[in-house]
């Protein structure tokens, strides 16, 4: 089903390539993102310039793009995993038990929904300091409410079904029903939401890097945009190419998510 959706397959292939490049690219390309390789401000195609030109310090833009994906993709992946874990735990407890547990957990979720996300992660990094661990924590703690609401809705729906009642009748424990009986059936929408979360986490980390809120020694696509921004009026390529990298990555993951959605829910195809 999934493989018949051409856009989704293209997305998957492109995303796999991007992951391979972030893992092996820096070693294969051989030029460090931090090394001065030519004169500053060389546009792509000018004499002695690397393929995509150089930045204001004469560093290779292409090397930056190849090396810059690592930090963002790593933080985004871990943060998305954290988001889904918190979301599923909170949402499944709320949806399965209902009553005051549900009311309490949903009120708690609302607190995190009314605080503007980017501001909240900025405050977390401001208070804890930058660095991979704190950046992941800041993003993971921000994005979970969406997953929690989704998981809750699924658990609310599924807990009334026959097979769940059957599991209860033969004396399965609550934990077993929640995670062995219900969760696997709640996975399809959660998986789609996970792909969306990865895209949002990438945008968040890029935004934080753009603002200079993350570790300044790590080059990422977002930080390239932030640092080269002052020269855009004369040197568009410094900002144009790193930005394209973010867009293509986000787009490829979105296409995969879209394909998953169609595969899981054929009725909605083409919407």
């Amino acid at each position: 089903m999934f493989l018949r959706n051409k856009a989704a397959v293209v997305g998957l292939v492109v995303f796999s390539l991007i992951v391979l490049v972030t893992i092996f690219g820096p070693g294969l390309y051989g030029i460090s993102a931090n090394k001065m390789v030519a004169k500053p401000f060389l546009g792509p195609g000018s004499e002695l310039a690397p393929l995509l030109g150089t930045d204001y310090l004469g560093r290779d833009i292409l090397a930056g793009i190849i090396g810059g994906g690592r930090a963002t993709l790593f933080v985004a992946a871990v943060a998305a995993a954290m988001t889904m874990t918190i979301g599923i735990v909170v949402g499944s407890l709320a949806g399965y038990f209902g009553g005051w547990i549900d009311a309490l957990l949903m009120r708690f979720t609302e607190i995190f929904q009314v605080m503007p996300g980017l501001l909240f992660s900025m405050v977390v990094i401001f208070l804890l300091g930058p660095g991979t661990r704190n950046e992941t924590l800041a993003i993971g703690l921000t994005l979970w409410p969406l997953a929690a609401r989704l998981a809750r809705a699924e658990f609310l729906r599924l807990r009334e079904l026959e097979y769940v009642k059957a599991a209860r009748a033969i004396g399965c424990s609550d934990l077993r029903i929640m995670f062995r009986t219900i969760l696997p059936n709640a996975m399809p929408p959660l998986l789609v939401s996970a792909t969306l979360t990865v895209v949002i986490a990438i945008l968040f980390h890029s935004g934080l890097a753009f603002l200079g809120m993350v570790d300044v020694n790590t080059i990422s696509w977002g930080s390239m945009l932030g640092k080269n921004r002052g020269y855009t009026l004369t040197a568009w390529w410094m900002v144009f190419f790193p930005g394209i990298a973010i867009v293509i990555t986000g787009l490829s993951i979105s296409l995969v998510g879209d394909g998953l959605q169609d595969a899981f829910n054929p009725k909605l195809r083409g919407r």
């Binding site: 607190i111 009314v114 503007p116 501001l119 867009v247 919407r271």
Partner: protein, 328 residues
Amino acid sequence: MTALARGIGSRLGQAIGLLLAVVVVVFFLIQLAPGDAALYLAGDQGVGDAEFLARVRAEYGLDQPLLVQLGTYIGNVAQLNLGESTYFNEPVLGLIIERLFATVLLAGTSLIFAVGVGVAIGVYTARRPESPTSSAATVASLVGFSTPVFYSAIMFIVVFAAKWRLLPVGGIEDVRYDGNWVGETIDLLEHLILPALSLGIIYLAIYSRLARASMLEVLESDYIRTARAKGARERVVVYKHALRNAIIPVITAAGLQVGNLLSGALLVEVVFAWPGIGRLAVDSIFRRDSPTLLGIMIFSSAMVIVANLLTDLVYRIIDPRIRVGGSR
């Protein structure tokens, strides 16, 4: 008391409870940070002995038990006292109010643009689901969703401000028009176009897709078939019967996303040097001005809560089926 008034009353109560919870969370976040205000002041003034620290802590009430401090903090916020900026030495609330108009103007314009154009695109493509325009809109919407707002903002500057010189690169006003009411307004709008467009495009991407999906679903429903069967004209069916129901998920999403909208506005404000609350927040981080930063956190959460209340009200106007106090 009517059911409506009671419903609005209970929503208001919930909103106040929610804001209180945000204040508590922010208070405990401050406690997480290493060091305290006394250490900061000691570093600032170059005095570090224990006696000075104890004096400052007593003066600011930092030697009190945590719960007492929390009580004082909530009391202050309740009296609209968000503390004093350590950079400007001015009340934080005043700093926020000064910049409120710019942020609300930017976010509001983007939201109206995104909802208006998004619904129009959604309706248009939903009526021709198999057309090339429809697939083009779907792809464009995915691209729009994956594009960081600061990136489109910078690219707009490169193209429209730097290359074609059509619009200003940044800021909110030009000194040229000082004192001339008409000129000032036109000038403000000129400065507004690019920031509002960059911010609006992401939400345009989201809402056009949402409007399309919701319109497709509504157009297949029984009451639309009934309307067609009784011979209502296509225009009436689409714009009167279908749109009214199809727009509800868009309003829900728009209401729920005000927090994200403010996050996006923050980035746009930084790119365009737009003098709003978001830029103040970013500047406050680099000035280590935590009272201002946390004040903005509480204030913007309050803005989101108010926006959610308004969404709730709009619901009731659009859809009379939604009863107060019902489950969401």
